[in-house]
Amino acid sequence: METVLALLSGLLTAAAVWLMLSGNLLRFLFGLLLLSNAVNLAIFAAGRLTGAAPPLLGPGGALPGHEMANALPQALLLTAIVIGFGLFAFALALTIRAWRSFGHLEVDRMRLAEPDEGEK
């Protein structure tokens, strides 16, 4: 099962990287979302997959008879997802601002900070 997730994670990563390399800020953002998902999957898979029992205790804190899913990676993932959302939201705002500032989203044409002149 982990193998499937490993493959999926790798392919999602590849798609993300391809998008990030496209030179368009919006597509970079798309890539970022995909990459976050890929990494989340990777972490999830690395935490091992053990059936469908969620890490919830029974009434009175009773441990279920069977093994529960690994709770720790889930907590990490939750944190990571929310942080990822924050970063994404900022990046989106930045994209809008860049569009308003430059009139395009082609990253290679954003040369204000490093203009193409070198030493005078």
Partner: protein, 98 residues
Amino acid sequence: MTPTDFLAICLNTGLGLIALSIALGFVRLWRGPELADRVVALDMMTSAIIGFCGLFAVRAQVEGYLDIAVALALVSFVSVVALARYAGRLARRSDQND
């Protein structure tokens, strides 16, 4: 066949059908052609996932999955509203490029 076996088969079939319907919904999502078509597909997929959660709650015997369903039902509405607003504005705009 015991009722339990029957339930297991039905659940698995149901889950499979729902997954299939999500996949089919995805085809519409891909094809479009308009924004509204995609939103419709997304909405349909969301409904299917709500169903998925419901059946999964049965399979895992965990009520917790129903919470996903409730949350999803609420939140998917927000996304439909947002996208529909977008679609509405797009429709009133001169260029039709989405």
